[in-house]
Symmetry: none
Subunit: 229 residues, 4 copies
Amino acid sequence: MSHNPLDHIAAAHQRAFGTPRAAVTSSAGNPALREQLIDAAERLLADRQVSAITTRDIARAAGLSVGVLYNYFGNKNDLVVAALLRRYDAQLAVFGEGLPVAGEGDVEANLVRYAEAMFGLANDTLPAVASLMSDPPLMHRFVAEIHGPGYGMRQTLGQVAAYLTAEQGLGRLGEFDVASAVTAFMGSMIALGLQGMVGVQGLIDDAAPDEARAEITGVVRVLIDGLGA
Amino acid sequence: MSHNPLDHIAAAHQRAFGTPRAAVTSSAGNPALREQLIDAAERLLADRQVSAITTRDIARAAGLSVGVLYNYFGNKNDLVVAALLRRYDAQLAVFGEGLPVAGEGDVEANLVRYAEAMFGLANDTLPAVASLMSDPPLMHRFVAEIHGPGYGMRQTLGQVAAYLTAEQGLGRLGEFDVASAVTAFMGSMIALGLQGMVGVQGLIDDAAPDEARAEITGVVRVLIDGLGA
Amino acid sequence: MSHNPLDHIAAAHQRAFGTPRAAVTSSAGNPALREQLIDAAERLLADRQVSAITTRDIARAAGLSVGVLYNYFGNKNDLVVAALLRRYDAQLAVFGEGLPVAGEGDVEANLVRYAEAMFGLANDTLPAVASLMSDPPLMHRFVAEIHGPGYGMRQTLGQVAAYLTAEQGLGRLGEFDVASAVTAFMGSMIALGLQGMVGVQGLIDDAAPDEARAEITGVVRVLIDGLGA
Amino acid sequence: MSHNPLDHIAAAHQRAFGTPRAAVTSSAGNPALREQLIDAAERLLADRQVSAITTRDIARAAGLSVGVLYNYFGNKNDLVVAALLRRYDAQLAVFGEGLPVAGEGDVEANLVRYAEAMFGLANDTLPAVASLMSDPPLMHRFVAEIHGPGYGMRQTLGQVAAYLTAEQGLGRLGEFDVASAVTAFMGSMIALGLQGMVGVQGLIDDAAPDEARAEITGVVRVLIDGLGA
DNA sequence: AATGAATGAGTCTTCATTCAT
DNA sequence: TATGAATGAAGACTCATTCAT
């Protein structure tokens, strides 16, 4: 149990958030401006896709000129990656908040709450991921960047894995491969998120986004009970 | 159970794939050229994302001049949608092939084969879907287009649903909500697919794409057995 | 009187309309198709400006293929010139119809009717002239073409000149330079025509196009009475 | 007579030419560049028609790059309108200069000088107006733009109207409708101007542009004496 | 160091003209 | 000879990046 490959993450997390990100680009004098730019880009990223954001947009949103961008970042992509990372971090940071602790409450109810958190994460994260897929080099840079210890989805999923492992230890859940279970959990939530993203009547099912909640419960039950006879 | 909302799909599928697709755009004389253009676009779509493909690229890849595109399609997007649909159809067409029939063989082995097929589908389909996310209007056109009877992912998932339902009827699987099970199945495969897509070491786990097969089996087992005590 | 420089025109007119236009281009087999094309172009010219008409438009309107155009005309402009000439001829042909004869009726009323005819001509003709001004080479070709004996505005104005001269001979009008009078008459009507063309509130005055009629009468009176004390 | 609707224009004129034009488009930093672009466009407008001028042409003529155009104008048409207005203003500005005052000199000689000024204006203005006729939306924008107080041809014609009215008041000209007289005057000069424009041997008469002067005198005499017995 | 105007390559689209059938 | 699909030059406009101030 204590050997789950995801166990080491909490520590890594602490380390990671303590140290500043490796400088993506040639840094310049005023760190505040760098932040201003990232903040602006992050804000724009919430509404639009990467490809729909121009350097002018970012500069205007930051209340700065386009030129400064190149004082703090090698190019537009460097800034976008930084903004994406910040966004990502913010989303992951809230993930764990208020999630049930192993051994407390009803297991099924707890799992539903975990599922809901994962569903929210998928909804927040998927657009950015999709956005990056349009730009493979950018994607790879992003992935390389978040792959440092303590970053990324693994972090988050580590919490899920830890919960499942703990409940197993308490005997409140059966024997199963935790990593696979995490994949199934997260994947189900991604699938649910894609539905709502793709239009009123989605790629996967007809359910409107609002009905997602109901579906989450259904999926959790299947995952708990299994398909077996 | 025999009333699962996905039940009617198999029939629709047959109907749909028998009739040719409604013409997406204004057509011109030589159908071969139209195909040539779609083929070229489809080929490019395999490598690059939608936004990275120019009309010149397509024309060059097709061995034609740029102007010809507008003899067969109203604009670049019309052609791209056509190419995307073709890609999609080709992928869906092979989906059903050689999949196990309910009642035959071992249930778990059958489910692994279904899972593998879904995994392949996710791998083939996700890039295009991601690509479209960068271009919401195009995405909506695409979704509207594939939403006709007999189209889309729902079709395909219908086959999975039908299999699960049939095995339930035969008593080889337990009681569960088929739609939720399909979501969990497909979602797990999407999650696995995303891993491989996102770089050597993925968003979700560290497994290289090659190890996916092993993971599929693991996930299927979890789905069958469930997490319950 | 018999020496007015416009006198020779009537004869020239007869000559001109008897003989076919000098072949503008390499002619081809079927004269009917040539006409079909000119007819189609002429029809389109009534609605749109030269620059807004494509070879495809003409071909479609003629019920022919684009290629045939180049069998009967050297290029698009040759056809346009031919159509413009035909249009022009048709407009001039109706000009004389029903205009008063010298010596009959009231002179002022007669002049108003002439003025109205000129106003109508200006309205029909100005757009085409303007259209040609956007394309100097085309303009020059057109002008060269209509400059043959018996063509063009001179023809028409010759009728006005003849009327004025005749009334002078009858003593119903005073002594004045007929050519200058024709210029003043036609010019006034062109000015009135430009007004209506240029928008609700024109370049020259505020009068709406509908009020033109009233203005015509006013102008005619000024022309008759003169500005002198 | 002192209530002729054109009377108020002189004052408006003074007001208008004192204040800078309302900004036609989104402006950018360097006003000199804006001028450079307008100057270049204006220069090109002297030779070619609107439709024959490309953004590249303007940029090259201005010694700038194409992109800069969009820093100072929303689009090509905005710049063209600005250039057209500048051309127009320059022409109108000189119109009044050195024109005779009512009560001084010989009335006929004065009218000839007015006529000559109008002829010059027609020659300078007509090409642009014709140019715009090929592009109705552009024409309407231009007309709307020049329709402000103190703008446009009406302004200029107001000076003519004022002169005529004043001479009437002094008893040096008879009774006639001033507005109609202005139309006849301006129209005659437009007709004369069109002749020279339309080619060596024109639409209306054969006179070469150089002979225009002689014709002006002839027309003025007719306008003064009238056609009446 | 910040500014923001200038740059110009690159995008989609149109259309007169050609030419194989 | 008629057809109409193919061609490709040209047009307006965008936007990441540079650089003089």
